[in-house]
Subunit: 347 residues, 2 copies
DNA sequence: TTGTACGCGTTATCAA
DNA sequence: TTGATAACGCGTACAA
């Protein structure tokens, strides 16, 4: 690998001149410019980005922290492809780091990106608490943005989606269609998203004067199997219901499978609505309605905001994005579901 | 951000000593070690990885080049999650760079990773030719591995899967079940994978003494819609067939949809087999058999090989992995498919 | 066991 | 318009 020094020697100029030619800053005569370009060509010179980044204290890299629990899903694909594409538009490079399976590891991932002198960091947190994240943002000068959590202190550093409102709307939709006994399958209750969805459901029922019933609310764990178990429990308990709102598509799919197995057709006998509308959902749309998570919109906004923080000129827009309810009315048999332990939706 | 110099001053020692404490190399007395650790703590010191990498000429980073056409699929998720997880096991960091939509851009992506002084590079090529890649590998001292292409010159630098053999086996399977009129839907013919799959089909027929028929071979473009069109063309042409081998699952899904629309049930009337067995396939398994692409195995091997090249001690194993044919016999209605332009399988 | 001094390949500040 | 030269933060012979 040839260095700038060698190019300079070849061109009969100094290092500084070569640097000026490359950066386009400062005055260089056309004649020497040509010489330098020729020398670069001859030497097959390529700049060492490490050295450049060290000298400029910028890396043109943006870090992204996500737990690998999310890696295996189309939700993640959408998130990642949107982020990568959008950052490249702005001449930045994405670095993906695994947040693994604890708050400590998520924090270590952030540290690593900081140590690498990333220009900015995006966190899609799973375990880190709001307060810790607020603290981290305080502590470092690099812009750090959080997706899908509402921060307390740095509200302009987070982008989230109105999970509660979405759940409210979905419940409202079911009520409007005449449903009164609506079962709800929660996500893991350590997740804010799960809690928001639950609370939207409750609020919609209350608002319509429908009494909340504990026996209709079953705890799930985001996975298809937990959705199936939830239905099993309802059926074994002899609890009747005409609709199911599951906190994500996977559980909805598990629920549909279990319902069909019990000879209950979806959506003829029971309506089922899920969340996230993962891209695989087209396979299922005939049986499953879903509330689309606006992950692309969120990534768009996060990155726009980050870029404007880096390049100056901060433009403030909304932090909260809304979800669309996608409803299908056609009919088909239920799907088959493998025994994946992974989770394709949001936390 | 505090530097090593500041820590040294705080601890009343020299920079070199701090460095020794951090790296664990060289002798340092316990007493000064403690002082240094204390100073590090107090200063909130973090090493600057840019500087470290520049000084050592190592980055602990491994680059991965993939075209973003692949980003939106579960095939990619599997590839990426395997790579990230495996590299972290070896203390390396993955950097994903978009290969975009041309050979030139794929090459630029490689250049970028080289400029970043990545320790090694993995390419999952879409456009780059074998010869160009062989040339690139010659040209740089960093290990560069190619997935899913057979290189001519650097055979130990590529890992591929026996697409032809897999296709051969799938065809054989259909023949053994009594099928004689087997339609074949190709992938884009600019792709080596597509050609290999086609040739496996042809070879199996020939071997069994079944005449090849041009009218049974339809060109597809990897997408569900192109699979559906292929079936449409066969049906409109009045061509009879009892089985379809589609060069990927998406086209198989499109084919199934179109067949069902024409009142032809799968698999009762026509058997359909696809390739790649994308994780979404469980939804479809009742109707679709698929040949699983061993992407995880390939990534495993690539990374093992890379690591052993970097850490010394080169262990040579097989380059060519085989695919399993996954066959299901149960029955269900066909799925719905959106109008995605993306492609979830391999190229 | 510790410190000095130089090198890694850039950028950036001053003079010239 | 150009060239020295000092950062940038760290690793590492070599000397002490």
């Amino acid at each position: 690998m040839s260095t700038m020094q060698e190019v300079a020697k070849k061109a009969g100029v100094s290092k500084a001149t070569v640097s000026r030619v490359l950066s386009g800053k400062g005055y260089v005569s056309e004649a020497t410019k040509d010489q330098v370009y020729k020398a670069i060509e001859e030497a097959g010179y390529r700049p060492n980005l490490l050295a450049r980044n060290l000298a400029t204290n910028k890396s043109q890299c943006i870090g992204l922290v996500v737990t690998n629990t999310l890696y295996n899903g189309s939700y993640f694909s959408e998130l990642l492809s949107k982020a990568a594409q959008k950052l490249e538009e702005h001449g930045r490079q994405l670095i993906l780091v695994d947040g693994k399976h604890s708050a400590a590891e998520e924090q270590a991932a952030i540290q690593f990106l900081l140590d690498l002198r990333c220009d900015a960091i995006i966190i899609y947190p799973r375990f880190l608490s709001i307060d810790v994240m607020d603290g981290i943002i305080d502590h470092y000068k690099q812009p750090i943005m959080v997706v899908n959590r509402r921060l307390r202190k740095h509200q302009s550093h987070c982008i989230c989606c109105d999970h509660k409102g979405a759940s409210f709307k979905a419940t409202q939709y079911l009520i409007a269609r005449g449903h009164r006994d609506i079962a709800f399958i929660t996500g893991s209750l350590d997740s804010p998203t799960a809690l928001e969805r639950l609370s939207g459901y409750k609020e919609a029922l209350t608002q319509q004067g429908i009494a909340l019933r504990d026996d209709l609310i079953i705890n799930g764990k985001w996975t298809p199997n937990s959705g199936a178990s939830a239905i099993e429990r309802l059926l074994n308990g002899g609890i009747t219901f005409s609709a199911v709102l599951a906190s994500n598509d996977e559980m909805a799919i598990g629920a549909i499978k279990q319902l069909n197995q019990a000879g209950i057709a979806v959506p003829q006998n029971v309506s089922v609505i899920g969340f996230d509308n993962i891209p695989t959902a087209p396979y299922l749309l005939p049986a499953l309605s879903s509330v689309k998570d606006p992950v692309s919109d969120m990534m768009n906004e996060v990155i726009d905001r980050l870029i404007s923080m880096l390049d100056g000129g901060y433009l403030s827009k909304d932090n909260i994005f809304t979800s669309d309810l996608l409803v299908r009315d056609s009919v088909a048999d239920g799907p088959f579901w493998g025994n994946s332990q992974n989770h394709a939706g949001c936390f």
